[in-house]
């Protein structure tokens, strides 16, 4: 336990120290990369709540990333640029979409659940492609970043970075508290044995649905951050490759662990960055690496450091 806290402390210190260091060596690009990783780490953390602790293999988590991002984009399109409005609406919209998708999907299980979540996300993806007002296939440009007057200016890359880091840490803490609460106990119990959970008087459905909605809302926040990060929103954010990427971060890092999704996001995206700098055909190397990691790293990278929480 002490070792874990120590490792967390070192990691946070390194992340806090990153902006001055990269600016001092004149490589602001890395700040951009780190911010992108942190944003997608939030998405991975939220997926870990339902996938790792809840056992719900959602293959459509990118949907909420897209809903969050498009909410910011569409509100900006109609001239509402206040972040105080945009971000809560993005979170609520994602939560509502997750509620609708979850209400249907969680009735099914196993492979049907995987496919139905995938299909719903595909639906949203095609919706994004076919609405010409909001860019359709080409995507839409964000006219202005979300404005938080008096608090923070997102155009300042360092400030935006620290905000993202802060939100990422809050997400880690939130999920950690959640899974160790009574609610989380039921969720984990339903994952390990559905029948016994029912036998002691809990119906898993509402717990799973609540977790699904919380995860969707959290991922919606990541979507709002992502829209501000790239200034550009495309339907590709909701593509099934994106869902697969987020899923991979969780598995690679180690599911049902606190640090796993963050670790996975860093390793996967840094690897992508490294390989793509080396050759344009980086996916031909990444693909087999992913297969090998599934075959040999059964408990994920976090498994090297400590045993899984669940």
């Amino acid at each position: 336990m002490k070792l874990r806290l120590l490792l967390w402390g070192i990691a946070v210190l390194l992340l806090v120290a990153l902006p001055p260091v990269v600016l001092a060596i004149g490589q602001p690009f890395y700040l951009d990369l780190a911010r992108r990783i942190l944003i997608l780490a939030i998405a991975a953390i939220s997926l870990n709540l339902i996938l790792g602790y809840g056992g719900l293999v959602s293959f459509g988590h990118a949907a909420y990333l897209g809903v969050g991002a498009y909410t910011v984009g569409i509100m900006g399109f109609y001239g509402i640029t206040s972040g105080w409005l945009q971000w809560p609406v993005a979170i609520v919209a994602s939560a509502l979409v997750a509620l609708a998708i979850g209400a249907v999907s969680i009735r099914t299980s196993g492979i049907y659940f995987i496919m139905i979540t995938l299909a719903f996300t595909q639906m949203l993806y095609y919706l994004g492609i076919s609405i010409a007002e909001f860019g359709g296939d080409d995507g839409m440009r964000l006219k202005s970043k979300s404005l938080f007057p008096g608090l923070i200016d997102l155009r300042d890359p360092v400030a935006f970075y620290y905000l993202t880091l802060g939100l990422m840490l809050v997400s880690v803490f939130l999920v950690h508290r959640l899974v160790n609460s009574r609610f989380g106990m039921v969720l984990r119990a339903a994952k390990s044995n559905d029948a016994r959970t029912r036998a002691i008087g809990f119906s898993p459905y509402p717990y799973r649905l609540a977790a699904f909605v919380i995860a969707g809302a959290m991922c919606g926040l990541a979507g709002a951050l992502y829209a501000n990060h790239t200034n550009y929103i495309t339907p590709g954010l909701m593509s099934w490759q994106q869902s697969g990427d987020i899923m991979f971060m969780v598995i690679l890092g180690g599911m049902a662990t606190t640090a796993g999704p963050v670790l996975g996001a860093f390793v996967l995206l840094l690897l992508e960055d490294l390989l793509s700098a080396w050759t344009q055909h980086w996916q031909v190397i990444l693909g087999p690496l992913l297969i090998l990691s599934v075959i040999f790293f059964r408990r994920g990278l976090a498994g090297i450091f400590y045993k899984a929480d669940a």
Partner: protein, 306 residues
């Protein structure tokens, strides 16, 4: 909306449905027998299309190209099964999804490295170009008609293999109880490889038939793969009969939706609104259909195991 147009679109739907069936049959067989979910099935579709195109250009003969393409996809499928997927049969679906996701990245990029990222043009062979007259005043492309015929012939062949041959008996036995089949002295590993190769060849066939109709390009397999998932979820995972029925339903609904939804909506709401809502709704139609089917029959229309 004239009758001729409706009839033509129905045939187009049937042709698309038959293509979906060729994909779905392999996927559902592999799932039914090995309990394995193969996302890379779409990659085999793509490999089939590319190999057949390359072989046809090389030999100068469409038929020879098709045969070589089929054989090539069979070999690629078996090789993938032996090298990568064999170890994953006992794992949970999550691991299988992720490993085959890695395979997709690999195959898409490999194809882009060899043939480039741009879409290639596959031509209809001369003996299948032209139209046939169905009834007075209506003609239909011969190539699409040929796909429908081939598709139903394959469906018949599959039915015969599964219900009337020794291999089919082993396949059905393997789907019911793997351990028992292995205990009776059947080489279950070999059976798995054969079934996987078989499914790969069917996907390759679907790919090479689709070549002249859709674009031959990297990532072409994933577009159809997700529709194939809808097919097997609607039909009931593991059931070949379900795959056939589901494929025809999805093919016809999708094609008719794309053709007629916009003008149909135009009569209900204002034409400009229909202009943007029509295509959006048309591309979401099969997913809505799936959600409706699942809410009434969570195991699909033809549940495989009773």
């Amino acid at each position: 909306m004239s009758f001729t147009l409706l009839f033509e679109q129905l045939l187009n739907g049937l042709q698309f449905g038959v293509t979906l069936f060729l994909m779905a049959a392999g996927l559902t067989l592999v799932f039914g027998i090995m309990n394995f979910i193969n996302l890379a099935h779409g990659s085999l579709f793509m490999v089939g299309a590319y190999l057949a195109l390359a072989a046809a250009n090389w030999t100068g003969s469409y038929l020879l190209g098709a045969v070589l393409g089929l054989a090539g996809t069979l070999v690629v499928g078996m090789a993938v099964e032996i090298v990568a997927l064999r170890t994953l049969y006992d794992r949970d679906h999550l691991d299988q999804v992720l490993a085959t996701f890695g395979l997709i990245l690999f195959f898409n990029e490999l194809v882009a490295m060899i043939w480039g990222r741009a879409a290639l043009f596959a031509s209809v062979p001369p003996f299948l170009s032209g139209h046939i007259e169905l009834f007075t005043g209506s003609s239909y492309p011969l190539y699409r008609a040929a796909i429908i015929v081939v598709g139903f012939a394959i469906a018949l062949l599959l039915w015969w293999v599964v219900t009337r041959t020794r291999l089919g008996m082993l396949i059905r036995a393997g789907a019911t109880n793997r351990t028992m089949v292995a205990a009776l002295g059947v080489n279950i590993r070999l059976l798995y490889t054969v079934v996987f190769g078989f499914g790969a060849a069917l996907a390759g066939l679907a790919g090479l038939l689709s070549g002249p109709i859709y674009n031959v390009q990297p990532g072409m397999g994933e577009l159809i793969l997700i529709q194939v998932f809808v097919v097997i979820v609607i039909g009931g995972i593991g059931s070949i009969r379900g795959a056939l029925v589901g494929a025809i339903i999805v093919g016809v609904v999708d094609t008719l939706g794309r053709a007629f939804l916009k003008p149909l909506l135009g009569t209900l709401i204002s034409p400009p609104a229909a202009e943007s809502a029509g295509p959006a709704l048309a591309s979401m139609l099969i997913y809505l259909l799936m959600a409706v089917v699942l809410s009434f029959k969570p195991q699909g229309l033809f549940p495989a195991k009773g």
